[in-house]
């Protein structure tokens, strides 16, 4: 049961392994705080949609499956959007149109289709949590790299007399600005994905080696 949760974190990480939900990943990963906000939004929507889709999975006829899922998802997205506008205006502005685009985020409908559609409510909720957190972790990693290299800062929430921005000494004065732009986003995710693929290849090699040495003994 618990593996429904954990698989989303690493083994089936939506960004690096399944390669879904890329648009917001790349677009909002300019600042760490955006990643956190976006992640929270996605987790919320994912939870809601997976919950309802699995709840209603026997009620919804095949022909209107997609429209129904979309309505469910869109409702949660609109809620997120409205709440953000009301209570987290800067975040809402930074994320721009991508809050609304959570609707079409490929992970969410993907999970509804691939998982919630034929799993129980509790499994689906766990899956949603795992996928959502996996997504957030991926997003966080990308935005951390991009913000540190591309702006020389790490932007978090302001509290007290801390303005929410950590400035990295040397880089802050002359950051590699392109990393913060479109190019940087694509390159960073490309190299991260390459790195994960390399890890996977290495792991496979290790397994073979293990088998070989076992034979030798």
């Amino acid at each position: 049961m618990i593996e429904h949760f954990t698989k989303g974190l690493f083994k089936e990480n939506p960004i690096f392994i399944i390669v879904l939900g890329l648009c917001p990943t790349l677009a909002v990963s300019t600042q760490v705080v955006n990643a956190l906000g976006m992640g929270a939004g996605v987790i919320f929507v994912l939870l809601g949609s997976n919950f309802f889709v699995s709840l209603l999975r026997n009620f919804i006829p095949e022909k209107i499956r997609i429209p129904s899922y979309i309505v469910i998802i869109a409702s949660f997205v609109t809620m997120v959007d409205l709440f953000m506008q009301a209570y987290a205006p800067t975040l809402s502005k930074n994320l721009g149109v991508f809050v609304q685009l959570i609707v079409v985020n490929c992970i969410i409908l993907g999970r509804a289709e691939a998982f919630a559609k034929n799993h129980t409510v509790s499994e689906s909720v766990l899956d949603a949590l795992g996928m959502g957190i996996g997504f957030t972790l991926g997003l966080l990693l990308i935005s951390l790299i991009r913000e540190v290299l591309g702006a020389g800062t790490i932007t978090l929430f302001p509290f007290g007399n801390f303005d929410g921005v950590i400035r990295i000494p040397v880089i802050y004065n002359a950051p590699i600005r392109v990393i913060g732009l479109a190019t940087g986003a694509l390159l960073v995710i490309g190299y991260l994905k390459g790195f994960f693929d390399w890890m996977a290849i290495r792991k496979k090699k290790r397994e073979i080696e293990k088998r070989v040495s076992a034979v030798k003994v």
């Binding site: 002359a174 600005r177 392109v178 990393i179 732009l181 190019t183 390159l187 390459g194």
Partner: protein, 369 residues
Amino acid sequence: MSMEKTEQLLVTTSPHLHDRMTTSRIMWTVTLCLLPAGIWGIYVFGIYSLAVLASSIGASLATEFVITKLQGQDTLYDGSAFLTGLLIGYNMPPSIPLYIPVIGSIFAIAVVKHTFGGLGSNWMNPALAGRVFVMFSWTGPMTTWLVPRTRGIADAVTGASPLGFLKTGLMTFSGKVSGPLDFMARKGYPFTSSDLKVTEWLNEHVLSLWGGHMQNGYVDLFLGNIPGSIGEVSALLLLLGAVYLFAKKIITWEIPVSYLGSFGFLVWMLGGLRYGAGLFHGDVLFHLLSGGLILGAFYMATDMVTSPLTGKGQIIYGIGIGFFTYLIRFFGAFPEGVSLSIILMNIVVPMINRYAQPVLFGRVREARK
């Protein structure tokens, strides 16, 4: 000698004869042809420019070394990484902080070249991609130019490059002048005394024979007495090197001619409008000699790896670059458009290669039948 004494024979497939040209020879020859222009750059901009070149080349070779070590290739000594580093250095302003060429080189070699498989596999010009990368990252330092020492001013004075001067100047200009050099003269852009003298002499003794007249400024542009990137300023020395490359058949006419031709035509046709001079009054010579156009057209657009394979394709490619260079120079946010145009057209090269292929022998008639 009896034949029983033959040592182990070399067995390879045909052909058993080979042309003398090799990859490393090509690369080193191009390097050689580029050197004079670089030496001129170092001379006029001071010894710090040498440090810039050294750091870009050093970083380029070091990156190549590390990666080829990891991948078991051996392209370190074939000159391609050296050439990439050299060209990045040539495209840097002389006063640039050294970390910028270093990062540019690392980006060029590691990301643009070796991620795709190393020499020959990259589809984008590494040096130019590296330059554009740092240009967009550190726009300020990348657009700060030194005044050459041949202007008789002490070292390390910054000044605008001709194109930069025009770009900012023209933003608030509406009126009528005969062209860019006239505009610059009126706005007080200085030309050197040698330029004035040579131009005067030419006007008196040569051009007057045909009743022509030349404005001040071309000579400075031609010789490289202007602020600009280290390796791009001396059109003369670059052209001399290019002549050698043509003679050695290392570069062919298609790309430079179609590039300069299409760009020149657009400038001639439309370039005058901005100065109120009307259609077909653009100053082609000024635009050909300023900025990195000569360097770009003869040494960078011609990079074999990233340009189309066939003559037909190369002409399409050249025209494309010419068009984008015109567009960016005259309308874009940047004064210069060579690097961006070339890497833009690099994107299209695989597509061009797909369609611009030679006519197969014996297929023409078949088609006619």
